[in-house]
């Protein structure tokens, strides 16, 4: 009886499997809108914790304190985050800011990838030249480990995506909060790169600092994918909440505010359609998990 009132949508978000053999995590595959599990195959958002590949000096004080014992050791840090329930680890390559040799950065990534029982997401600086120089080397050094590599921009997608393809990785295609540009980058990628191995990052703004714009863009992308069956936008979405939430003045006032800021931003974006949420504090992860499960 209830079926008469349910919408059946034509589109499905492409399913993507990350990680090496034995450590795989899947994203996507949903044919329903966020949390509308009654209308189709549901999505399963993944909560992820962020680390850096060298001790970060630009993380909020509360976080620096919290991770004091591990922040200089990416392997230990990653393992600790897995212990906190992270479904994947998101590693910021901030050592790229110190201009360490690419080969050194790449072998560091490999060490972390091999040390954890979950997939690794690797993220550069968003600097089109530096990322182009480093990310392909990371791809090669981690061949077969099923990384999610980013960001890939419209200025450097050719080189980075080719390397990702050659070594079995997936990529994060990043565009500045615009559905038309997201579509365009995916169309360009589709010429040589399988769209099933693309995750879209249309940029994330935190609560009070532009969350609405991020929300609208992601919502539009997800609506086109599921309701309008737009084949060029059926990629999972990623929200890098950690960095955005913890750079606000509220988060830097005290840890409790930071956790709430991070959690509220994340919960909103889960409603918009994000499939991967990156967080910096495990308390946020715990809070969100308890609310969505």
């Amino acid at each position: 009886m209830l079926e008469n009132f349910l919408e059946k949508y034509p589109g499905t978000v492409k399913e993507l499997s990350l990680g090496a053999e034995g450590k795989k995590v899947t994203l996507g595959g949903q044919s329903a809108l966020p949390f509308h599990d009654f209308e189709g195959t549901p999505g399963r958002p993944r909560l992820v914790l962020e680390i850096s590949d060298s001790a970060p000096d630009d993380w909020a004080a509360a976080l620096q304190e919290f991770y004091a014992d591990v922040k200089a050791s990416p392997v230990a840090w990653a393992q600790k985050c897995v212990g906190y329930g992270a479904e994947m680890i998101f590693m910021n390559l901030n050592s790229m800011e110190k201009d360490l040799p690419a080969s050194q950065i790449a072998s560091g990534v490999r060490q972390v990838a091999e040390a954890i029982p979950v997939p690794l997401i690797v993220f550069g600086l968003g600097d089109k030249e530096k990322d182009e120089a480093v990310l392909p080397q990371v791809a090669a050094a981690c061949s077969g480990l099923g990384l999610l590599l980013g960001p890939v921009l419209k200025e450097n997608y050719q080189v980075i995506a080719e390397a990702a393809l050659a070594h079995g990785h997936a990529i994060i295609a990043q565009v500045p909060m615009d559905v038309n540009l997201a579509k365009d980058l995916n169309i360009k990628l589709s010429k040589f790169f399988p769209l099933e191995r693309v995750v879209i990052d249309p940029l994330t703004s935190s609560l009070g600092y532009g969350l609405e714009y991020s929300y609208s863009t992601k919502e539009r992308i997800r609506l086109s994918a599921v309701v309008h069956d737009d084949k060029t936008l059926q990629s999972p979405l990623i929200a890098r909440v950690g960095r955005e939430a913890w750079k606000t003045k509220e988060a830097n006032q005290d840890a409790r505010k930071g956790i709430l800021w991070e959690s509220v931003t994340a919960l909103n974006l889960l409603l918009a359609g994000d499939d991967i949420i990156t967080l910096r504090h495990p308390e946020s992860l715990k809070l969100i998990k308890s609310l969505i499960n």
Binding site: N180, L181, K183, D184, I187, K188, D230, T232
Partner: protein, 292 residues
């Protein structure tokens, strides 16, 4: 529909150099070429004309009237320049444009009555550009009412719904189409116009034409009276004259909600099909929309 040639406009290097150098021949040539191409009006866009507004406009109008006999649309935000041009137009001119802002009502609109000119009135008001059909209707009704109060009849008013660039707000296209359809009911006797090129602003240059052509066909179907166009877009003028019936058919079928099989279409028809789907918001716009 009636076509207003846009090619004499201040952003063109050739035009701005000729105007600042008071060098008439290149402008006269441009005017003659546009007339030959078959447009019905010529738009003279001198921009804000901060330096010597009256002299610039009068000089230009005189130079153009020397060589062509078409009615003129005077395009400037400067009421002083506008007045200078209106005073010497041989044929009943078009003020391009007035709006629903307080300033325009005070400075630009009264010129239409004073010089017995046609006037473009846009939906812009002091709150900005209305976002949907209903708010456009509300805005334009208020301004038309005001204009009527000044003694300007509906027949002399050309309503401009304002099209945003496709990459800024694609959904607005459908609002504009709906608004144009409702005009005869809400303001009987008014004419209408639109700057086609605004839609394709920001689109890769070589792809702008096809977007402009399709929106023209769609708006003509909705009842649009005129459009400001590139006089030298031969295909646009051909489409307007009823040529290329296969292309018109493709666009109309998309407007009717039909899904065509791209394989059954010629390459040219396929491009118009894809473009029509974007214009009718059946496909989200991207700069590579023709490559999908």
């Amino acid at each position: 529909m009636i076509l207003i040639g846009e090619n004499i406009q201040i952003l063109s290097r050739v035009v701005s150099d000729a105007i600042s150098g008071t060098n008439a021949p290149p402008l006269q040539e441009l005017a003659a070429e546009q007339a030959k191409a078959g447009v019905h009006w010529l738009d003279l866009n001198i921009g804000p004309a901060r330096k010597k507004p009256s002299e610039t406009m009068s000089w230009l109008v005189e130079a153009i009237q020397e060589v062509v006999d078409l009615p003129l649309s005077l395009d400037t935000t400067n009421p002083v320049a506008m007045e200078a041009g209106l005073a010497i137009c041989r044929k009943k001119p078009l003020i391009n444009s007035a709006a629903g802002t307080q300033e325009s009502k005070e400075k630009m609109l009264p010129l239409a009555k004073q010089y017995n000119a046609n006037v473009v009135i846009s939906v812009l008001n002091d709150a900005g550009i209305p976002s949907d059909a209903a708010s456009r209707a509300e805005s334009i009704m208020e301004t038309i009412d005001y204009a009527n109060g000044l003694g300007i009849p509906n027949e002399d008013i050309w309503v401009d719904p304002i099209l945003m660039p496709v990459g800024v707000d694609q959904q607005q296209i459908l609002e504009v189409v709906e608004f144009v359809r409702m005009l005869p009911d809400i303001a009987p006797g008014v004419k209408s116009t639109i700057g086609l090129s605004n839609l394709s602003s920001g689109v890769p240059r070589h792809l702008r034409h096809i977007l402009n052509r399709v929106i023209m066909v769609v708006l003509e179907n909705a009842g649009l009276y005129s459009a400001i166009v590139d006089s030298f877009d031969k295909d646009l003028l051909a489409l307007n004259a009823g040529g290329k019936p296969e292309i018109l058919s493709v666009i109309h079928r998309v407007m009717d909600g039909e899904e065509l099989k791209p394989a059954d279409l010629s390459p040219e028809e396929r491009d118009y099909y894809k473009t029509a789907r974007v214009i009718m918001c059946q496909e989200i716009y991207s700069p590579s929309w023709l490559e999908v």
